[in-house]
Structure formats: structure tokens, C-alpha cells
């Protein structure tokens, strides 16, 4: 059967406006996508890749156990820099997640058809990124075993969280975000899970997919309810794209630390999140599409569209940097002025200039169509933007804290081996989860891809 499909599918996309390659049928789409999970054996590189990622997960486990055992002091955090890698990574991961929600929810509502082939793994990326992000606020606490004190629950001490603290808002924002993202992703998966259930020849897989498919039979009523639920969830998820990173930015904006206390933070953070999120989608989509031969489904048009978003959000972020510096000098606030000078010329100046290079200068290449249509260059740019966004959070968190008001307390910060182990470990977790995802779930929404075929639009066209 696989060989039939191969014959049926044409050599690749020709039109770079196309969002699906020509020559596909309902059957061939289903076959092509589900075969990755069902019939193709796991290739060697999958095992190697997953093995490496799994090793990093073990590094994560070990380093988390060590932090729990010894205390958060094994990290580089100190006074004055009370937040370090943990918060940098939290913001970075959460930001990465944003593209998934944006693609699945907002682009759905805006009827952007091209989102179809990338929404599934973008959503998966969101979920995994949130999972990675959650490690950090939890573990950076001095006493992580009391994390639940940040949640409002009735208790004999009659104590509630302190609702004025942005950290409490964070708990709500991130947990809501995680829940909605999971539901959205899962609901979207149900029809495909049923497909897998029906197509698998493995009894165990059938039972598991069967349970997950929740009795999906594809009846009209099912479809009707599905569409309603999916739209509703999209509606729910849409404000989260804006709210989550807004709330995360409040962690900084509400504080009085120079460099944090700024009204520009919410939009600047949201733009940054989408920026980094699309960079991450590109970083993942380009290899996946290459490895699994999905160029027909994730077409050049997709990559170009994402590159344009990258450029647009990159410009917003650059504007944010500019305004931050301008506002500091315009305000005349000596602490803000000092902070700005210190960012550019102080001990962490290389970080700042690297950030400017990664986030402001590099994406300017995307003005050129030739760059946007070259997956290889796009991949490199996206990767650089990911690094740049990490540097941005580092500059915001660490450089603002390291020299604030009272000069006697100025200090410096550097991540220790445990900081790095935890960070790299979460990358391992992220990649390992992605490997499992592409192995066990359809990486592209099968049924939605089918709607892109001309056959699916008979009614509208007549």
C-alpha cells in the first residue's frame, strides 16, 4: 500500500503559493501521515535522536534531584541577582509555546488555511514547552515542596495567596494556559486518533488509540459537536496568547527594579513570545519536513509565511528595545539611565550586543525573498533568533538585577554547571517528548489536511 502512495504522489511542490502538493487524494493523505506512526518502522536516526534526548532527560532528573537535595544554592543565584537561569528559561520556554497557540487558535479564527499542516506539532510544541517551563518556577523556589501555597485552597490556617503578587497571577495564567492548550490539542487529535485506531493492526495500539479516541465514529453529529467544541476552545485560547506573556511580563513590570519597572513590558513580551515561538516552529518544522518527506504538506508557502511573521514580530521587538533605551534617557531617572548605560557598556555588554545582533540585525535578512524561500537559511536564522530571545531574557532578568539602587550591593551572576544541566535537561525533555510525539501521534492533522483537497470543497464550488 505504501508503494502505491509513493507512486501516486507527485515529485514535490512546484507552486510556492501552494499549501499542499498536487496529486493527493483523501486516501493518500491519510496513508502518508499515518504511515509514520503505523507502518514505517522507527528509523535508526529516531532511536539515536531519542536516545540522546532521553540521556538529557536523565541529566535533568539528576540535576533536579541534586537541587532538591542540596538546595537552590547550587545554582548561581545570589544577592543581588535573586533570579537567574530558572526565570530566564521559564520566560523563554513559555514564549516558545506561544506560537503554537497563535497558529492553532488565532489563525483558525482568521481562517488561515495554511496553518493546517503546522498546527498539530506547533500545539504539541506549546504543550511540551509549557511542561519544560513549569520545571523552573517550581524548582527555583527555596522550598519547592510547598509550591501549592501559591494556589488558593481552603486550609486550616485560613491563609490565601497574596493576590497582589504577580507570581500568583503567574500560577493562574500558566496553569490555565497549560490546561487550555492540552484540551485544544487533545480535542483536535480525536478524529485522527480514531483514524489510527481503525488503521492499526496492532491490538494493543488499537486499544490505546481506541480509548483516546473516545468512541469517535465520524458521524455527522460527532463532526458537528467537534466543530463547535474546537471553535469554542479556539475562542478561549485566543486571549491566552496575549494574556499569558502579559502576566509573565508583570513579574518584572510590577517590581521597582530599574529595567523591569516599565509599562512597555506587556506588548513587548507578547511580541517577543510570538517571535521566539515562530522561530522555534521553524527550527522544528524544517528538519521534520525534511526527514519525513513532508515537503508537500509543509510547503514553501508555510515557511515564507512564518518568516514574514518572524520579521514583523522581530521589528516590534526591536522597537521595544529602542523605546526602552529612549524612555530611560527621556525620563531622566538616574537609575534607568544607569541601567541602560550599564547594559550597553557594563560587565554584561557582550550579552546585550549579542542580543541586538541575534534579534535585531539577523532577522533583517528576511526582507529578501530568496532568504525566505531557502529552508536552510531560514533554519539558521530561526536558530539565531532562539538564542537571541534567550539572551533577551537574560539581559532583562540578570543585568537589571545585578546593579540596582544601592551600589554597595552590586554583584554579578553566572550560571553554574547545575544551571546549565537543568537548562539542557529541559531541552532534552522537550526533544524527547517531540520524538515520542512524532512516533506515536500524527504529526500533521490528517482530517484537516484532507479538507484542503479540492474534493473537500465540492459543495462550495457548485
Amino acid at each position: 500500500m505504501a508503494s502505491d502512495t509513493d507512486k501516486a504522489s507527485p515529485p514535490g511542490p512546484k507552486d510556492d503559493r501552494a499549501i499542499i502538493g498536487p496529486g493527493y487524494t483523501f486516501g493518500s493523505i491519510t496513508e502518508k501521515i499515518s504511515s509514520i506512526v503505523l507502518s514505517r518502522p522507527a528509523p535508526r536516526y529516531w532511536w539515536v535522536g531519542f536516545g540522546c534526548a532521553f540521556l538529557l532527560v536523565m541529566v535533568l532528573m539528576y540535576s533536579l534531584a541534586y537541587v532538591l537535595y542540596e538546595g537552590v544554592g547550587v545554582w548561581g543565584v545570589n544577592v543581588p541577582v535573586g533570579w537567574g537561569f530558572a526565570i530566564v528559561n521559564l520566560v523563554w520556554w513559555i514564549g516558545i509555546g506561544h506560537a503554537g497557540t497563535l497558529i492553532s487558535a488565532i489563525l483558525l479564527l482568521l481562517k488561515q488555511k495554511w496553518r493546517t499542516s503546522i498546527n498539530r506539532f506547533a500545539e504539541a510544541m506549546t504543550l511540551f514547552a509549557v511542561a519544560c517551563a513549569c520545571v523552573f518556577p517550581l524548582m527555583h523556589m527555596g522550598r519547592p515542596w510547598f509550591f501549592y501555597w501559591l494556589m488558593p485552597y481552603p486550609n486550616t490556617m485560613e491563609l490565601w495567596p497574596q493576590f497582589r503578587s504577580p507570581l500568583v497571577w503567574d500560577v493562574f495564567a500558566i496553569s490555565t494556559y497549560g490546561t487550555v492548550s492540552l484540551l485544544f490539542w487533545f480535542v483536535g487529535l480525536i478524529p485522527d486518533l480514531a483514524t489510527l485506531r481503525d488503521r492499526t493492526s496492532n491490538r494493543f495500539a488499537r486499544v490505546v488509540y481506541g480509548i483516546l479516541a473516545m468512541g469517535w465514529r465520524g458521524s455527522a453529529r460527532h463532526w458537528h459537536r467537534y466543530e463547535t467544541a474546537y471553535l469554542l476552545l479556539a475562542g478561549l485560547a485566543t486571549p491566552l496568547v496575549v494574556s499569558v506573556h502579559t502576566v509573565v511580563s508583570f513579574d518584572f513590570a510590577v517590581a521597582i527594579v530599574p529595567g523591569w519597572h516599565s509599562t512597555i513590558f506587556p506588548p513587548y513580551f507578547v511580541a517577543g513570545a510570538i517571535y521566539s515561538g515562530f522561530a522555534m516552529v521553524l527550527t522544528l518544522a524544517i528538519p521534520i519536513r525534511y526527514v519525513y518527506g513532508l515537503e508537500d504538506f509543509i510547503t514553501s508557502r508555510h515557511l515564507q509565511n512564518m518568516a514574514k511573521i518572524l520579521l514583523a514580530t522581530g521589528l516590534i521587538v526591536a522597537y521595544g528595545y529602542g523605546m526602552e533605551a529612549f524612555a530611560a534617557f527621556y525620563s531622566g531617572n538616574p537609575y534607568e539611565v544607569y541601567l541602560t548605560e550599564n547594559r550597553a557598556m557594563g560587565p554584561y555588554a557582550p550579552f546585550y550586543w549579542a542580543l541586538i545582533f541575534c534579534n535585531v540585525i539577523t532577522p533583517q535578512a528576511l526582507w529578501f525573498r530568496s532568504v525566505r524561500t531557502s529552508p536552510m537559511i531560514l533554519f539558521v536564522i530561526a536558530f539565531i533568533v532562539n538564542v537571541g530571545m534567550w539572551l533577551e531574557r537574560f539581559v532583562i532578568v540578570v543585568v537589571s538585577l545585578h546593579r540596582d539602587f544601592v551600589p554597595s550591593s552590586w554583584g554579578e551572576y553566572r550560571g553554574t554547571v547545575w544551571d546549565w544541566a537543568t537548562y539542557v535537561g529541559t531541552m532534552g525533555l522537550f526533544v524527547a517528548l517531540l520524538f515520542l510525539f512524532v512516533r506515536f501521534l500524527p504529526v500533521i492533522s490528517i482530517f484537516e489536511m484532507r479538507t484542503l483537497l479540492p474534493e473537500a470543497h465540492v459543495k462550495e464550488e457548485t
Binding site: 545570589n78 543581588p80 527555596g142 491563609l159 503578587s165 521597582i256 527594579v257 560587565p347 551600589p407 552590586w410
Partner: protein, 1044 residues
């Protein structure tokens, strides 16, 4: 109970039972009892013992219904109440006992807080005459309580490395003594006693007796950090030995010649108090004094002086001679070369001193040879200061030989085999003796070496016998302060490690039936009492009790000798010192600011206490001037983990002096005289204990008896190595660079200071309004009100108590007693060098140090700024805590609830003053048994993962509240004294109720201070409304030296 029913006997309806036995046959009841009372279950099942336990079972039956209460277990330990309640002891209430701490030839009167028999905190004894109602202490005294509980203290009598009993040691002691005693000729010829400076009259008496019995024995005292120059100089000038002390209350102009008289040496607490009392400004304040300092290496005293002249140590003598000549003292020796600017400076000082007869003082430090001291005596005599500001007192008569010459003699005798028995009481000469005496090897030649010491230290390693010495808090004794006042040292606790006091040791040595420490001291004072006037002395027991209670023995102070004239020929006796070799570096040997001569090396509090000027912890370094560093290409860069708040990576140099070499890290110190280098004693120890061994470098290894104060001809060679020092506040070149903290502190109004003249022009010169006016070019908007806020500033009115603190920057000398006091009071853990380098140190109260001036080599002044929690009324930390672990109390304290803290550290990030401290790891010592005794039971011991910070000593506030409530009165001004305030000898810190109207309608002291025109708050533009505020420093420069 009725629900249990028997179904097997066919009864229906209500269930009946005829006897308890029958009732208890119920298997379900049995099962239930078995679960809750397993020990009885077996007996219940067993019919033989069942009857036997009937009575108990009755109770079990009743308790069987309480099955829901299972799960709690009564503690298995026996809880025994006092069968006889000790007198005055109320559990939970601290008791205070007066005692005294001997240190380096002087003593400090103390009150020691005791909780259920554990001394936990040292306070100064305000009744002690040398304390003049202040009750201050220094960092050494504060930290001494930690030494008491030091688990590394020596715990057993040792004979050549083997544990022996005290009885055996006593036999050996007696044997040695009787052997000397039985000598036919020259009783005691081979007997030597080496002690530290003897301040105990009882011990002195015992030693005198010993020397009477063994007339040919010798007693040598040796204090490496206080050699004989000061005492010897009086012989040069006056022909007799006197102790010199100062009464600075009447001194308008003070010249310190290489003298750190505010920070070390006898009387430093009183000096500080008297000095700072004359630094206050205001309507009722006495005229302000003026301090000049000439010094080679920066000290707390020199750096707060109005004018400071950095000269090499050898040039200090030139300056003194020039001054003497300018004042026509009668000294005619050549002046040597003094740089023109320095000569100009001395001339201005001379002009200032000239008009201040009897109201000035020239003070010389222990680091200068006797000649310079003698010159100062001559100048003071000429200025008529003797008997007024400079007091000479007759020292207690002693047959002891002291200082370097005596030690050299002893070493020589040992070398020549003249010493048969050497008894070392407390001293550690193997470590502290100058290297050229080769003390360790010579000591080996002594047949019998006996060492009494708190630690199994370097000297103990070379001695046959080592006997653990009792800490002063666990032994009976007595001690004379600098003015001669004797205080009884009374123990607060039984010796923890079976130590004995020197008095007890001598009693065991000399007496057939040794007396207890208590008996020895009491016998001595009974003798003293017997000599007193019968009419006034009262009953012996009353005399003794009063002395114990008051903390000093009445009428023991020595009257100042009536000496006003120099002894003829003095000028001939003080010929100029040999001109130093030029071209090389001059090397200065100084005691360490925090661990002194090394005796506190194993004291974690003092090791971690940042040294006032360098802010180094856990290490010593070779101190060089910025110019020297430039010449040699030496530098200091910030390490990545703590940066300027912890980690300093510096060059390592090889220091060669008189053929001996040492490799050590270098520290660049603004204000160090160019061409001089300073090394501090106390480090590089081998057997100090777990904390103090093998850190830093040993400066004694370069020190020679020939040049005990300073020497020339040292060489520095830069090596490729680098070394990480733990420095809590690095300094940067003093310019307008981004890195310069001092410059930023001034710009930001964190340090505010001005001259006396400026103050007289505008007393409000340091206020926010004045600063703003200056920034706007003299046009402050009239309508601008501070603070600018959208919110109602009176949202919460502090109607009741309103606690606040005021810190006088003009008074603080950076001595750091407050930091250690805070640590002791609040159970603040020690974190160790590595953690300090990572910016993890825990001090709730830190002292920030900022330099003034643009010349790195000659900073004008240093400002020390103690920074506790500001207890902001609008505390930025409070609103960001997600779990309400830090909240505001109704009386305005910013409180920290440790139990609730989850450790997000958001509060610390948002604290603009960065006073919050986080337990990054498990710092509190839960494991060491003796350390548990140390903790203040009124303060929680924090575990890892919890934020903490200054509480304004809330335990003391609440204690005073309870006390006041019990007495039905409000808290009076002065009822609550924070630990830092209590320790401060300068009176820089005042705490109290800002609402209080105080006694007789007067405002409380802190309210007065905060109403002072010099009052300012840190970063008030952030609208934090800090409760801790500062008084701007006022300097009193000489217009001749600092034209307007």
C-alpha cells in the same frame, strides 16, 4: 459501647453482659484494644494474666472508645522538672550576669545573657567605669561566645599526643615544681613561665608568689600585637613606666600618628565614645573636635579623620619630629626629609594644635617604635595635655618581663639549654613568635614543656603536656581594664570541655591542696578587702556580692599620676631611628582587624566579618597602594559568580623580606602610603581548628624581632598565579566610571556629607529638598511636596508605637561590632568562604564602605554606612510575595514569617536596599551539639530555602511590650535596645518609638534624631518611606588645609 454485640450466644434485642470478663471476651473489642494497646492485647488473651491486669483493663475499656485518638505518642524521654528551682531562674526568661573579657593586656566589662544556663549573647556592662553608661562592646567580645562553643576546642589533657587524665598532669606539674623548689641553689633557675599580657590581679598575685618561692624563675609576657613600645616610651620621656590612656572629652584637636585609637588597643571603646560625642552638631552640642591622622596604612580611625596624611611608617617619625620642632618642644634632632606637601600639612596641624593647650591630644599607635611615642609625650607635655586629655597611670607592679626583648631572651635561654621547664599559659608562641627566634626548634630543647590553651594549637604540638584551658565564660577569674578597674570574671556555664583556668593551673602547680577557681579568686579579693578601710568596706560577703553583681570591684581604678614634666635628658634618649634603606618597599606588620593576632582564627563570625576597609573575609592579603599596583601591573578583577559582591580574583605576588619568601594574594587599598605594604597577622595557621587552619598566609613567617613594627627592604615580584578572595564589597577606581560604587553612591544621595561650615550656612544641606534645589540650579519648585504619591499617605495611621531607627554617618567608624552583635542575637549562620564568593553571605546588617575623593591613592575620607532593613512603610518586598510571608505589623515593622516563606526571592529582587538574605543552602548548623547551645531561643533558627532579614530585634520589642504590659505602663524610650545599637561604641545607632513623647514631655531620642536637619532617608524618591534613616556626616576640615 453498646454497639458491640455478641451474636454467638443467641441473645437478641438489647445486649447484656454479666461481668467485665464476659464483656471482654468479645473478639471485636479485643481486636480494637489490640490495635490501640498492643502491649495489653496479649495479656487480655491470656486468661492467667487477665485477672491480674483487671484494674488496668478497666482503664483500657474506657479508653477503647477513644480509638480515634490513636496516633499520638507521648515522648519517650523523661521530662524532669527542676526538683529545686534555681534561684531567680524563670524558664524562658533570660538572666544577665556581669563578667569581663580579658584581651591583649586589657579587659572589657560585660553583661552576658544566659538562657537556662547557656550564655548566648554578650553585652557591654554599662555600669563598668570604662564603659561610662554606654554598654558598648567590640566585635571580639561579641564573637567570644562563639569561641566558647567551638567544637574544635581542645577537649582533653594530652601528653605527647596521647590522652591522659588531669590527675596525671597534676602529678607531672607538681613534680616539675618541687624539683625546682628543692634545688639547693638558685631555686627555679630552669623554670620559665610564658603568658599573654596578665590582666588578672589574682593571677598576677599567684605569679608573684611563685616568683617568691622560685626567685630565679622568670616570667615573660608576650602579646605579638601589643609590644612594649608604648610602655617603654614613658620610660624614655618620664623615666618611669606608665600606662597611657586618653580622655578625649576635652580634646578639640586630636592628632593620630599611625594610631587606630578608635578601633583597637586598650580603651578604644571609651575613645570612640568620647571622640564621637564631640562630633555631633546642633544647638546643644559641644564644639566639634577635629581629627588629623598620619598613617601608612588605612585604618578606621584614619579614614574617618578630617585630614589624613599618608606617609610611610618610617616617615611618621619625621612628621612627629617636625611637629615637635614647630611647637618648640625642645627636640633638636634633624627632621629628615619630609615631602614638601607633607611638611605643609604638618605645619597646618602645628598651627591648629598651638592654640589648644590642654585641649588637644597627640596619640601614637602600637605600630610605632618607642621613640615616636616619646616624641608625642613631649608634644603633649608641651601642649599641657598631660593630666587633662592624656592620662598617665602607674601600672600594676609586676616582675614579669614583657615584649619582644623578653621573648628573644627566653628563646636564647632555651637555645642555650638554660630552661628546664617551660610553662606556657594561653600564649601560642610557636605560631606568633618572630621567625628569626626559631621558637619551635628552640622549644624542642626544653626538657619539659607544658602548655595551657583553648586549642590544640601549634604550640601544643611542640609541648609535652597540653592542658585544655577554660574559656573566660566558664571560669573564675578577674581582669583589670585600662584604667585599672578590676572586674570579677564569673563563669556562666560549667567548663564544656573540662578546661582549667590559669589560676587553677597555678594553684595545682604550687599548692599541696589546690583550690577551686572560685576559691582562688575569692581568697584574693578577701585579702584585698581586708586591706581596705574598716569603716567603709562593709561585710566581706556584701563586698564580694556587690563586685559580682556590678561587674567590677569598687575603687580599684588607678589614679592618674601627677606627671606634667619630662625627665631631663629625654631628647638625648630619643635619637632619630636609622634611616631606612631606600628603593624597596617598606613592610608593616599589623594585627588582623577581625581575627587579631590569630587567636580568633577559628571563630567563624570573625572570619566571615568583612574587614572594615578591605571588606575581605576568610583571608588576609598583602595590602599595596594603587600606585604600587600600577607599577607592578597588579590588579583585581571581579569573579563571575559574586562579582563585586563576593568574588575578587587577584594577582599572587611573591614577597621577599630579609631572605624569606612568602607567596600571597595582593589587595589594592586606596589610601595605603605608596611604597609601603601591609601584612596582617593571624592567618596561615596550621592547627587553629577546622575553620582557621590553612587559610591565608602567615605574616609571622616574615616577621623579625629586630624590626618588630615595620621594616624596609621588602621585595614584591608578580607571579602568574591568581587567587580568589572573598570580598563583600569590591572597590573600583575612583572616577566617574560605571563601576565606581563610591561615585554612584554620592550621585544617588546614598551618602550625604558636608563640612561644618556648610552646615552652619544651611543646616538642611543634606535634605532631599536641598539636593533637588541644587540639581535644579537653585530653583526648587515651591509647590512640590515630598513624597509625590497618588495614594493617601495617611491610609494607615500609626497611632500606637511606631518603631524607627536613626544611624549617624558622622559617628560610624566601621568597627563592625554591630554586625557581630546582630549575628549573635539573631542566630545568623556562617556560610564559609566559597559561599561568600558566590554572594551568599547572611549578615542582616552590613556596613557599606564608600570612598570620597578622586585620587585613588589619597582618598579624602571613607564613609561607613551600616545598612539594616529600612522597615519601609511602603515596603516593595511585601506586595510581591506570593504567599504573604512578609507583611507589615501594626507598629510598622516589616515582618518576615519564616514558616510561610517558600523562597521565591522576589522580595529580595524588589528590595531597593538589598538587605534581604536568603538561605540558599542549609546554612544553620543543626548537627553540632555545642552549636545548639549557642542559639538565642527567642529567635527562630532558619532552615534552607527561607528568606530572612533584619527584624529590628523584634524579640526584644515584644519582650519589652510584655514587660510594660505586666507593669501597666507604656514602653519607655530606651526600653528597647536593638543588638546593633547596644554594641555600638560610637552611639551611632539609636532605636525607639517615633511616636513616643518620652520622659518629661521630651521626644524620644530617635524622634529627635529624625527631626534633625541632617536627617535623610535612603532612596526616598521611591516612596518607600524608610523607618531607618541616616544623619548626614559633618566633617570639620581645617580651612588652612582645605580652602573653600
Amino acid at each position: 459501647m453498646d454497639t458491640h454485640s455478641r451474636t454467638d450466644d443467641g441473645l437478641t434485642g438489647r445486649q447484656y453482659w454479666r461481668s467485665l470478663e464476659e464483656r471482654l471476651a468479645d473478639p471485636r473489642l479485643l481486636a480494637e484494644v489490640a490495635q490501640d494497646f498492643p502491649e495489653y492485647a496479649e495479656k487480655l488473651q491470656n486468661p492467667v494474666t487477665r485477672r491480674h491486669f483487671l484494674a488496668l483493663l478497666g482503664a483500657s475499656l474506657g479508653l477503647a472508645g477513644l480509638a480515634g485518638c490513636s496516633g499520638t505518642q507521648a515522648p519517650r524521654e523523661k521530662i524532669v522538672p527542676y526538683t529545686r528551682q534555681p534561684e531567680q531562674l524563670v524558664p524562658g526568661k533570660a538572666l544577665y550576669f556581669a563578667t569581663a573579657m580579658p584581651l591583649a593586656g586589657s579587659a572589657m566589662g560585660l553583661l552576658v545573657e544566659s538562657h537556662e544556663g547557656r550564655p548566648t549573647k554578650i553585652e557591654g556592662n554599662p555600669s563598668h567605669p570604662t564603659n561610662r553608661n554606654l554598654g558598648a562592646t567590640d566585635a571580639f567580645a561579641q564573637a567570644s561566645v562563639l569561641s566558647l562553643y567551638d567544637p574544635d576546642r581542645s577537649r582533653s589533657v594530652m601528653y605527647r599526643g596521647r590522652i591522659r587524665s588531669w590527675g596525671e598532669a597534676r602529678v607531672a606539674l607538681r613534680e616539675a615544681y618541687t624539683r625546682q623548689l628543692n634545688k639547693k641553689d638558685g631555686k627555679g633557675t630552669g623554670f620559665r613561665i610564658l603568658t599573654e599580657g596578665v590582666v588578672s590581679p589574682t593571677l598576677a598575685d599567684q605569679l608573684a608568689m611563685l616568683l617568691k618561692d622560685l626567685p630565679d624563675a622568670r616570667h615573660v609576657t608576650y602579646e605579638p600585637a601589643r609590644l612594649e613600645s608604648a610602655a617603654e616610651s614613658t620610660r624614655l620621656a618620664f623615666g618611669e613606666r606608665y600606662n597611657v590612656r586618653y580622655d578625649l572629652r576635652g580634646a578639640d584637636v586630636i592628632l593620630a600618628l599611625d594610631a587606630d585609637f578608635l578601633a583597637c588597643g586598650p580603651g578604644h571603646l571609651l575613645n570612640t565614645r568620647d571622640f564621637t560625642a564631640r562630633r555631633r552638631v546642633g544647638d546643644d552640642a559641644p564644639p566639634m573636635n577635629r581629627l588629623y591622622a598620619v598613617e601608612p596604612t588605612p585604618t578606621g580611625t584614619g579614614m574617618v579623620a578630617d585630614h589624613r596624611l599618608a606617609l610611610s611608617a618610617a616617615q611618621v617619625e619625621q612628621a612627629a619630629r617636625l611637629l615637635a620642632r614647630l611647637l618648640d618642644v625642645g627636640e633638636d634632632a634633624g627632621t629628615g626629609e619630609l615631602p614638601a606637601a607633607a611638611a605643609q600639612w604638618v605645619r597646618a596641624v602645628a598651627n591648629d594644635l598651638r592654640g589648644k593647650s590642654g585641649a588637644s591630644a597627640v596619640i601614637v599607635g602600637d605600630g610605632q617604635p618607642a621613640v615616636v611615642h616619646a616624641l608625642a609625650h613631649a608634644i603633649n607635655a608641651k601642649l599641657g595635655n598631660l593630666g587633662k586629655t592624656v592620662l598617665l597611670t602607674q601600672p600594676a607592679a609586676t616582675a614579669a618581663r614583657d615584649g619582644m626583648t623578653a621573648l628573644a631572651e627566653l628563646a636564647n635561654d632555651m637555645d642555650q639549654g638554660k630552661v628546664e621547664t617551660l610553662l606556657i599559659l594561653g600564649a601560642n608562641p610557636v605560631y606568633t613568635a618572630p621567625v628569626d627566634l626559631d621558637f619551635a626548634n628552640r622549644l624542642k630543647k626544653v626538657p619539659l614543656r607544658i602548655h595551657l590553651g583553648m586549642y590544640n594549637d601549634e604550640t601544643a604540638q611542640y609541648c609535652d603536656w597540653h592542658i585544655p584551658e577554660a574559656h573566660y565564660l566558664e571560669s573564675w577569674g578577674d581582669a583589670r581594664s585600662e584604667d585599672g578597674t578590676a572586674a570579677i570574671v564569673q563563669p556562666l556555664i560549667a567548663p564544656l570541655f573540662n578546661g582549667v583556668s590559669p589560676c587553677e593551673l597555678l594553684s595545682n602547680l604550687m599548692e599541696e591542696a589546690p583550690r577551686s577557681g572560685h576559691q582562688i579568686v575569692r581568697d584574693y579579693w578577701a585579702g584585698n578587702w581586708a586591706k581596705r578601710d574598716v569603716a567603709t568596706r562593709g561585710h566581706l560577703e556584701t563586698f564580694w556580692r556587690k563586685a559580682l553583681h556590678d561587674g567590677f570591684v569598687a575603687d580599684t581604678a588607678v589614679k592618674a599620676a601627677d606627671v606634667t614634666a619630662l625627665k631631663a635628658g629625654w631628647a638625648d634618649r630619643i635619637k632619630p631611628s636609622a634611616k631606612p634603606a631606600s628603593g624597596e618597599y617598606e613592610i608593616l606588620f599589623r594585627p588582623d582587624p577581625t581575627i587579631y593576632d590569630g587567636r580568633f582564627a577559628n571563630n567563624g563570625w570573625l572570619q566571615e566579618l568583612p574587614k572594615p576597609l578591605t571588606k575581605l573575609t576568610w583571608d588576609n592579603a598583602i595590602i599595596v597602594s594603587p600606585a604600587t599596583a600600577n607599577r607592578l601591573g597588579l590588579g583585581s578583577k571581579e569573579g563571575p559568580h559574586g562579582g563585586s559582591h563576593g568574588e575578587a580574583i587577584v594577582n599572587v605576588v611573591e614577597l621577599e623580606y630579609q631572605g624569606r619568601k612568602v607567596k600571597a594574594p595582593v589587595w589594592i587599598m586606596p589610601g595605603q602610603a605608596d611604597g609601603t605594604i601591609t601584612v596582617h597577622f593571624g592567618y596561615g595557621r596550621q592547627h587553629a581548628g577546622k575553620l582557621g587552619s590553612n587559610i591565608g598566609f602567615n605574616a609571622y613567617a616574615l616577621w623579625t624581632s629586630a624590626a618588630p613594627y615595620f621594616g624596609s627592604g621588602a621585595k614584591l615580584v608578580k607571579t602568574a598565579e591568581r587567587f580568589t578572595l572573598a570580598c563583600t564589597q569590591a572597590h573600583h577606581p575612583m572616577d566617574k566610571s560605571l563601576d565606581d560604587q563610591s561615585h554612584a553612591a554620592k550621585e544617588r544621595g546614598i551618602i550625604r556629607a558636608g563640612s561644618l561650615e556648610r552646615y552652619k550656612e544651611d543646616a538642611h544641606f543634606a535634605s532631599d529638598e536641598a539636593r533637588e534645589k541644587a540639581a535644579r540650579g537653585g530653583s526648587a519648585k515651591e509647590d512640590k511636596k515630598h513624597p509625590l504619591t497618588l495614594y493617601n499617605p495617611d491610609e494607615w495611621k500609626y497611632d500606637n508605637y511606631k518603631w524607627g531607627m536613626s544611624i549617624d554617618l558622622g559617628a560610624c567608624t566601621g568597627c563592625s561590632a554591630c554586625v557581630v552583635a546582630c549575628q549573635a542575637e539573631n542566630n545568623i549562620p556562617v556560610v564559609g568562604k566559597t559561599e561568600v564568593t558566590r554572594g551568599h553571605e547572611m549578615h542582616w546588617l552590613r556596613i557599606d564602605r564608600y570612598f570620597e575623593g578622586n585620587d585613588e591613592n589619597d582618598p579624602k575620607r571613607v564613609y561607613f554606612q551600616p545598612v539594616p532593613c529600612m522597615h519601609c512603610e511602603n515596603a516593595p518586598c511585601e506586595l510581591v510575595c506570593p504567599v504573604e510571608a512578609t507583611t507589615h505589623s501594626p507598629d510598622g515593622l516589616n515582618e518576615m514569617t519564616y514558616n510561610r516563606c517558600v523562597g521565591t526571592r522576589y522580595c529580595s529582587n524588589n528590595c531597593p536596599y538589598k538587605v534581604r538574605r536568603f538561605n540558599f543552602l542549609q546554612y544553620a548548623d543543626y548537627a553540632t551539639p555545642t552549636m545548639k547551645l549557642l542559639n538565642n531561643p527567642d529567635v527562630t533558627v532558619r532552615s534552607r530555602g527561607v528568606m530572612e532579614k533584619c527584624t529590628y530585634c523584634v524579640q526584644r520589642i515584644r519582650g519589652a511590650e510584655i514587660e510594660a504590659r505586666n507593669q501597666g505602663r507604656p514602653i519607655r524610650d530606651g526600653d528597647v535596645v536593638t543588638a546593633c545599637q547596644a554594641a555600638c561604641p560610637a552611639g551611632a545607632i539609636v532605636f525607639g518609638d517615633l511616636n513616643s513623647t518620652g520622659d518629661r514631655g521630651k521626644k524620644s531620642r530617635v524622634a529627635q534624631r529624625q527631626a534633625d536637619p541632617l536627617n535623610y532617608g535612603l532612596l526616598t524618591e521611591l516612596n518607600t518611606n524608610p523607618r531607618t534613616t541616616y544623619l548626614a556626616a559633618v566633617r570639620n576640615p581645617n580651612p588652612e588645609l582645605e580652602p573653600k
